[in-house]
Point group: C2
């Protein structure tokens, strides 16, 4: 929430849900899988999207909507991979809302397979806001610690998949992937779990396959 | 902000300021330095407090108020160091507020030198809430990336000191301390800057000296 918000939150969530439903219908009608990425600042959302851009190149088309409080930096990194990216700067707000997505949806190319939305770096507030996505990923990087799912349960409860990032740093950290996974699954048993290193490539085949399968499910009307 | 909040934010901030002012007066009258720690989840706030507990042992008395959405884990870690700790679980709210501190202040031992408040792991929302502290530290861990100050400016603007944590991981990361520091100082030139490794001990002498100096300034009425 920004300090500028004077609307009561209950009304805000109701209208957010309406906007999200419209966005989901629009994306599905175009055969586009919407994917919302949630995590703390610096957990590797942009780096994962860069890696997916390399994996999808020549096979699938993607676009990215970047959410940040300030700066155009993340959109610039994505564009450098040849992927269309639209930056939203919230100017203080701690999460994206569906109406913000709705306003920029016209700038997103219609002929794509995946629309990734990188939320503001925040493991708390974005969990409450449906952006009209069909798939929500929560990322937790190994340096953040394996005790985080139980401390920030809403993000894990709202997600479809849990992605442990920065696996390449495991030799230098006390992070136990089994503990983090067990905690996350205790919150939401249906979570798909992936452990990746975007810089080294570990785990990206499995994550890519999961995304492609979700896209095919959407297009066959089984979403 | 929690989704349960129905008060408009402007009123909330006004009453927060009143509560914060009362807490600050109370702490100053007791000669206690209040220190509010802000950062993303997993930046090392609790680990830094554990290291300070070891440094201060037998020289200064400290207590900790821990803010988390769920779990008593951080307070348990601090108590294991022999330091009194009171856990506040916000049950969803993304930041601590002064009234939450006011409610538990009676549980904090009166005969202490430092009262540390570890805020909810969130680099956005806690920046807007004065908790009645005299000193605010913003932490950024090296794995989060050196591009974060400009992306999350409010936390850096509201802080007195900027602490780069997990310096021991620098050999494995692209983090440039000079870049992070320059960005933070561009937002707030008066920031004191420290680079520490709580697990290895680097930089803790300088940070400890800074805290002790602030305590002495408070007690001499120059705060």
């Amino acid at each position: 929430m920004t300090t500028k918000t004077l609307t009561v939150v209950r009304d805000l969530l109701a209208s957010n849900k309406q906007a999200a439903t419209a966005i989901r219908q629009e994306l599905r009608s175009r055969g586009i899988l919407g994917v919302n990425l949630l995590s703390s600042p610096g957990s590797g959302k942009t780096t994962l999207l860069e890696a997916l851009a390399d994996r999808f190149r020549d096979r699938y088309r993607m676009a990215v909507i970047e959410g940040d409080i300030e700066t155009e930096r993340d959109a610039e990194r994505i564009r450098a991979k040849g992927v269309p990216a639209r930056q939203i700067t919230t100017g203080g707000a701690c999460h994206l809302e569906a109406r913000m997505i709705g306003k920029v949806l016209g700038d997103v190319p219609a002929e794509i397979d995946f629309l990734f939305v990188e939320n503001v770096g925040n493991l708390v507030c974005p969990a409450s806001y449906d952006l009209g996505e069909d798939l929500r990923l929560v990322l937790l990087s190994t340096p953040e610690g394996d005790d985080k799912p139980a401390k920030y349960p809403a993000a894990f409860l709202s997600a479809d998949a849990f992605v442990v990032t920065k696996a390449d740093l495991l030799p230098y950290l006390p992070f136990d992937p089994a503990r983090a996974t067990a905690e996350a699954l205790a919150i939401k048993p249906a979570l798909a779990v992936f452990t990746v290193s975007a810089v080294r490539g570990d785990g990206l085949d499995a994550l890519t396959a999961y995304l492609v399968e979700a896209l095919e499910r959407l297009r066959s009307g089984r979403a």
